[in-house]
Symmetry: C2
């Protein structure tokens, strides 16, 4: 395994900067008062395609050889990675092939097509996704860019925390959500190299707490999927798990109710749109206030792609 290091994360950042946003860091006096600590929100909901995924996908394609690029890239994803890969590919003139379950929301498919991605539909299960992807790769010669279990993707995601460290000094903690672990492993590596005094912690939905259980057991545990945080349903990868095991201090799990409450506070106080998965680390801070009391806490807000009607339904199930 060829893990990202200080020099390679720096190089990745220079490589992708012309194609991504250096996203803003937001603070809120009323949120700090409520949480009892100083929180610095790194707003990847303002990133291209509305999520940090733009970083890793762009880095991975930029590192391909011209010959590899000419044959295209492929992935299976129904989430933000699909759009991120299609966008990066389009900008660089590379064909992209996206395998999606036929049940994926039409808006996600439209998003991929708008970036020129070619969609291959399959049955909504992992075996069908993998066999369809293998078939596409065999026929086209495209390079598979996995959403998270890929060193170049992890390296690209690491640039997000790097930017935050450059803007905000002396963070005691940095929190990110964990699904497959691409963002979390990149964040942990960035902390190791750029801010070794910062403790990295993940937030995870209690209804899909496989990373939490994996840290406890010392091996990759399978995911369940009983949570509204639909970006965090995946199991850790063989490349992300060892990094997380070695560099992430702890994982805090939160209920869906806590996630919706945190999401609502972010919408109302910061006046920004974040998706449920994105609110998980802030929910974790609110849940364990005493641990963070008086500290300087970075939180990566991972993305803002949420259907407004769906969000409204989530909010209407909570106490106003």
């Amino acid at each position: 395994m060829n893990l990202p290091d200080l020099a390679s994360i720096r190089a990745a950042h220079e490589r992708i900067l012309p194609y991504i946003h250096r996203t803003p860091v937001m603070t809120s006096a009323s949120i700090n008062e409520m949480a009892g600590c100083s929180i610095f929100f790194k707003c990847e909901n303002f990133q291209k395609v509305g999520a940090f995924k733009a970083r890793g996908a762009m880095n991975a394609i930029l590192k391909l050889t011209p010959e590899e690029r000419s044959k295209g890239v492929a992935t299976h994803s129904s989430g933000n990675h699909a759009q991120a890969l299609a966008r990066a590919a389009k900008i660089l003139g590379v064909p992209s092939y996206i395998v999606m379950p036929r049940t994926a929301p039409e808006i996600k498919k439209r998003g991929v097509r708008a970036y020129g991605g070619e969609i291959f539909e399959c049955e909504p299960n992992l075996a069908a996704r993998e066999s369809t992807l293998a078939d596409v790769v065999r026929r086209t010669g495209a390079t598979e860019i996995h959403p998270f279990n890929n060193e170049d993707v992890m390296e690209g995601q690491a640039t997000c925390a790097k930017e935050l460290f450059e803007e905000v000094a002396h963070l005691d903690f940095l929190l990110a959500p964990v699904g497959g672990g691409g963002l979390l492993s990149g964040t942990a590596l960035a902390a190791k190299y750029f801010s070794p005094g910062t403790v990295v912690i993940a937030g995870e939905p209690a209804g899909s707490d496989d990373a939490y259980r994996s840290l406890k057991s010392g091996k990759i545990e399978p995911a369940q999927s009983d949570t509204i945080a639909d970006g965090l349903l995946t199991t850790l990868g063989t490349k992300t798990f060892p990094v997380i095991r070695d560099l992430v201090k702890d994982i805090i799990t939160v209920t869906d109710e806590e996630i919706v409450n945190a999401m609502r506070i972010i919408w109302e106080r910061l006046k920004i749109i974040v998706e449920p998965s994105c609110a998980v680390p802030f929910a974790a801070v609110l849940k364990e206030k005493s641990r963070f009391a008086g500290k300087r806490v970075g939180i990566i807000l991972s993305g803002g792609n949420v259907d407004l009607e769906r969000a409204a339904k989530l909010f209407s199930g909570t106490k106003a």
Copy 2:
């Protein structure tokens, strides 16, 4: 009348800067493509208390004498000005007395109380508001700070456009919403002094188009109130109208349907929360695309204080 000029707007900006946010300017490639012009959104939804009103209220109190401050400030408002005045007063150790209709939403009252404002409830009509306010002023000796018909408030609101001109050069157009005209008159004065080549245009709800009619007739016309843009229901003031008449090129009216559509695009593409009134100028640009085609267009996003359940109802097509 003692209208703000170049020097006084500069002085106001220096005066209030320690107490307000210099708000960011956002752009979106997909919105520019959709609108056919380059739009620069000045994000006052991120301002303290969630709206530009923080500027004018702070400027007005800072200009009071110590003796005036000791007796407090008073206003009648159920909107953003109430919170803005209470907040500015609290920071400066000044008592604040806010007259609100007893029917005002509880959340608005809580907001004012959280800033230490003392609320005086009255019947929900203008006569009751004015007589209650007069009574409060008589009993306390407080200085009335009108939400918009006040030169110091207009001067404070002018600092918003000044910031935008400092950050974005060569704007062909600058749009603001118009209710009582505090923001619009301040914006027009800022353009006159800091960017005379910029044409100032207002957006106004068709269901409350009194400013539009006032511009046509040459005198202040009464407001109606049949629109979801509840921050823009007021009639122009005797101090704001002459400035608007002389310096604002045009007013574009938009329907509630156009307002909701514009608001949804801002939420979905910029990933930020804006209130219905705030979406009116962007709706105006989308309505008259040919007029703005290829131009550099500034838009002041005035505020982000919207009840999430209400917004959800607007998006789902039901009248909230």
